[in-house]
Symmetry: C5
């Protein structure tokens, strides 16, 4: 997950220019239309945008899914068929968008990110995350979705559409858009869960052995949270705008029905909850940094104590041994190291040394160092 | 108290699916109905949801308490009897809800957490906390409560209901809902009190002996506060929504009466006070981290000083002893260690050593190290 | 000043229960009535609440002061005479209230804290603070004050009432309530002043000798500020509610006159100023923690430098002395320590030692360590 | 600049009491009246407040400047001539006011601080700052200014008034008040500029030599910013209140004309800019503290490395020298130190020592310590 | 990029004084007029402001670009031709303006900064940044831009104007102003991108070698972000004011059309995104400081461990060697160092030394130091 922003459009380029700025490998752009009402579901794969016109006019709900964003000619064509504002088309292609909602007279444009985690990324959950920009364009009886790659996140929805005449089949395009949003938001819960488990692991390893590796893991977690915030916080504002009814312009009948708003409020609550979790993870990572620092300082203290105990015991003893290793000539004067000729000289010196060492040890015990 | 979020629902599952996500051991779901008015109280234990219909229609206040959430069939039945929105039923079962209130035309749904502390958990008050999700559904003349386990937190209320025709018996279902809320909020005060005592203990032990154990205790306290925030902060918004009258839709007569709003404002003040206390505990734990760090640094300083004093006194002395332990041959030249043959050689060397040690001690005293 | 919250009421007790939760020693409850208008002032000490009824009905302003909160029977009586809401009576007795204002149809209930500092508490200004809860109940022509102890904070007001027909005598009960509030708020300025002086002293002692004692003093100051915040911040909201006119319900003529609102705005400005001072003290204490940490680190550095200088000078010298203290037999081979027999051996070795010491000293001077 | 608050009024003193709380030396109070319109300017120095009555009644704009606040009798007289609210007069004298604006029916009271920096205070720009409280009372055709000392900050305005019939002479009293405000706000820019230069100097000296002196300078800067914030932040609210038109009560024609509001908006922008600068200085000082700490830690590391290199090289060598300084009797057994009699004993031991030293150096180079 | 504020205007100077406060070298002021409509584009370089009058009156859109701000006479002339408010003219020249928008009856004044980065400034991207103040004055059918230097940032727009009858040629002056704003805002993306790359580099070098150089680089980044915030944050408010329609006074037809507001909302989203990026960079730099500190502490720990291991192993050994280097006379008593005459004396002492060293190593391995 990269935190540094990478612009791919030059400043000064006229607004509405269609330039794909994503990183997915070139792949052909594919249109899939799922057309349904209470009674039946049909799936088409039209080759041209023009072939979508009938779906636009039919009263059935049409879900036009566009996989891959390289074919700018096709996209421009789709834009003109569905009467999409040039700025929206530009934003669909520019994959550096901030999650947000934009309301037009009879269309609502929603752009947000979905984060794909590799399933085997247990140890470093955010290292292998890949972000994909999803654009959802909600019209009166159609939803157009633009994905950078072909569509696994929405597979369960396709299954539900085919499964039978459930609520999703009985309600309009706005409910479909809600279902898409709900699925994307739910996928963040799964990310949060993995991240939480990672933090728990990290925590116990920081307590056990606060070394360089743990430091870097904590830092990586911090950095990932900074990047995640950038994706998640704007979603709050986005869903709120939908709920608040910024989406319904006064002149025309509403695109989002009141029933669906109730469901969107549920999505809003989920986004708030994800943000709550994110913020508590942030606090926790900050606490981990403190813990790391204190553990380090604890360790240093321990190292210092060992050094100090050994050094302060033996340095004075070595000094005494040094004294009696001096070569002053005892023959020259009675004051020159008479201890060396004393009968109890050696045992006495050893006793003094032992006494000093013992005193030191008592001092350290009093200081609670040992 | 676990800070990491654990989702138990798969992304893509259709909204309104009933899946219990709690952790309490399987136990049968039990319905208890307390039906009362000013004149009398009766308690029933119906086996089926259908048996609750009469209570719904009578003018008396009915408190339907549901203990245990495993019997999804029964819950679905309750849902259809009381006309509960599918999203609400889903939230009752999903025990990862954020405390919040949701208003429908003639029902108010309140979900929040109650925290159970083991009574013997004096040393580590938040380690053994278990959270339980409580759902309160307030209708015009009934209150339905859903608990994960059977209902000790509400026992005092049951007692008051039976005790006599007090205020609780004279007022409506909204007052009962207020009493439930008030009891839950009050239980947080008790938690805060224990936490406060724990912090006071922790504080004095950090000052006395800032070791690894204290570090971990401070960290645990920090972590617990992060988790607590996630439960307590949303309650402010929740109670405020009730007080503000988001709860009364314009078309229908109000579910929550003005008199009860006055009491709810009292609950709101309590929630604010709990938040105030929580935030000051947060500040205090942050101060404890600083205190720990500074105490550590103090200790390190002390250790270093002892090492430095001993080492800097004895190293020069040992050097001098080393000098006179050299074996230069005095016979070869008059310059080769003539001190060794001097009459006062040994005493003089000892005197020099004493002078150096004394000078060092004076230097340290001047530096205020000793 | 204790930061940990101590609850004294059990959860589940019905609202409106009268239980005194304060800590002042048992003392009888005493009622003092000061009854005045422009022309005269009279003081009574009625034994029963019933005796207060005439004051309630007269057009003169009556200030009913209740000292001591142990006699719950008397308080309940007062409650019924003056028609006080049960929740208010409960709050008067529960001395753990958050400062706030509550508006009823013809009464305004104000609860806040007064902090008593012992006069000789110069060294540790907040250690001996005792908090007392003051409740003010403002009616149309009366003010009831409840104090935990008998009433020194309000003595200057009593004096002004008796002193002559000043503004306080010409104006209504609302102005009396303002005067009480103003006196309490002013007493916080005095606290702030003493705290400020304490910080200045602390600051210079941290700079001079950053030892364990200072650390604890800084920590105590931090802790006291956290506790103070909890008392002072809510006062802002409280006075603002009075100023904003939340206090005047639309149906009835206003309890607080426009003239008094002007004076209350002055109190509001004072509260804001106290909060400003409090926050700058907080910043200052945070700066003191940084200063302490840096000073500690400075000291450690100094200690380390001394150790390093002494050790790195003498360790090499001691090594050289050690070399020439070896006992290799010069007779065995011409390579075995021929230096020992050289004519200039000893002086040369001393010279080499001096050169090494000098080089080290130059190195340290270059490093700016000495 | 003192951060500790110093109250000089006793709690319980009745509101509206006139007590000067400033610190300027006693000096007589002097009134200067500058009376002007488009055609002419005249300056008077009336001895009594009564002498100002004609200016109040004339249609010309009158600027009454009062220097020195010790003569409370004269001030009370001014108060009664110009019909000033007692709380305003009290605030004029109490020099501990928070900058703010207060609107009356036909007067606007503005109180704020001006900060005087000694010109030679380059090294420590905020150490010698003296604050002076300025009160501006704007009436319909007059402005009264109260200064603690005689009026250099307003000299340029006096000059402009005399200089010719510029905009200031053509417009009303509100424009004069704006000009005074603008001048005071501009003087803060000058302070900011000097502070900025000081920070730049401080920054480079912290990088170069992070010693005790720099630490204290950083701390002083931090402390000064805390004090400055207390003066500058409230000005935002103050000027905003003027701009927003809180100043124009609905009943009477406006005191502040729309044209002047446009100019006041400019002052507002300046205050916002000063606050922006202040906040970025705060961030910068916080960064300086980090820098200081890290530099300290860098230094400690460097000191430790030198000690470690020297000690770890020489301690093993000294040990070896110590071995061959032992006095085991070679005659007793062939195992007792046969090395001492070996032909290559001494060179070999020196070689071993050199090898150890070399190995250590390689190890350190690998660790990048040297 | 300089963070310290530098004022260049004296306090007390009358408002509306024209003084250029920028730092660009003196250069003549040059007017370029680009006059266009759907059909044609023409470019003129009039010598005097008077020559611009025809453009003001024609219905075509005129873009009057003024390069260089030294010729205050010419600027005053432009001011009177286009009826510019004196405060605006003053702000155009005072290059220390905070980005903001100011709305007049038929003009909107926008002032902001453009930041020029030298292309070869890869290593230290913000060190060589030069800021230039751009003023945009939008009238009903003209846009006047004031630049400190001649106009490369707007070259792409000029190209688009000439390129053909695109959207820019079909729309009014408000769209031109939008295009200018969009170009400036886009240039900040480019800056963010470079800054992000710099942070990534810095990050890996802090992890690898946390030395003095990296410390200073982190500090410089921090400081640059503080400075950047001051330029970027106010732009949010500025663009928002345009979008919100503060720009359209009620009396007159709107200067900014609804279509252009849609485009401006796009610019607003971009500014929000830049702010998001900026804030996450800030968090990242804060994390880098922590990382640096922890890495330093890690390193210190490592250094200390090496010292402690070597010292604690060899100090006891040296002591033992010192013991047997003492010169107690074995002839005087049987207790005086009999070991020296033992047959296995020397090997035994070596063995004891080896045992001690081994024990120490085991201890260190247990402590996980080696």
């Amino acid at each position: 997950m990269n935190i540094a922003f990478r612009r791919r459009k030059e400043a000064g380029v006229p607004p509405g220019s269609l330039i794909y700025t994503g990183t997915t490998d070139a792949r052909e752009t594919k249109i899939t239309v799922t057309d349904y009402d209470r009674d039946s579901v049909s799936v088409y794969s039209p080759e041209t945008a023009q072939a979508c016109v009938p779906f636009l006019q039919s009263p059935r709900v049409s879900w036009i899914n566009v996989d891959g964003l390289h074919d700018t000619v096709l996209l421009r064509e789709i834009g003109s068929v569905f009467d999409i504002h040039p700025l929206v088309l530009e934003d669909v292609l520019n994959t550096q968008q901030r999650p947000r909602v934009q309301v037009f007279d009879d269309q609502i444009y929603i752009v947000l990110k979905i984060l794909h985690v590799a399933d085997d990324a247990a140890a470093e959950p955010l290292a292998e995350i890949q972000e994909e920009q999803i654009s959802i364009l909600l019209g009166r009886n159609y939803v157009i979705t633009f994905q950078e790659r072909s569509g696994d996140p929405f597979d369960p929805i396709r299954t539900r559409l085919h499964a039978g005449a459930g609520r999703i089949r009985r309600m309009g395009a706005d409910y479909l858009a809600y279902t898409l949003l709900d699925t994307i938001v739910d996928s963040f819960f799964s990310l949060m869960e993995r991240f939480g488990e990672h933090l728990i692991t990290l925590e116990s390893s920081v307590i056990e052995s606060p070394d360089r590796e743990q430091l870097q893991a904590v830092y990586t977690a911090k950095r990932s949270l900074i990047a995640l915030r950038r994706h998640i916080w704007p979603m709050r504002e986005m869903v709120n705008a939908l709920v608040r009814g910024d989406a319904s312009t006064t002149e025309t009948p509403e695109i989002v029905s009141d029933t669906t708003v109730l469901y969107l409020r549920d999505v809003y609550d989920h986004v708030i909850q994800i943000i709550d979790i994110l913020e508590s993870y942030r606090d926790m990572v900050a606490a981990l940094v403190d813990l790391y620092m204190s553990s380090q300082s604890n360790r240093m203290n321990e190292v210092m104590k060992v050094l100090t105990i050994i050094a302060t015991i033996f340095i004075p003893l070595t000094f005494i041994a040094g004294i009696y290793g001096m070569n002053f000539d005892p023959d020259t004067s009675p004051f020159n190291m008479p201890e060396l000729q004393w009968y109890w000289g050696y045992p006495a010196s050893l006793a003094i040394m032992a006494a000093i060492a013992g005193g030191m040890l008592l001092f350290f015990r009093k200081k609670k160092w040992i």
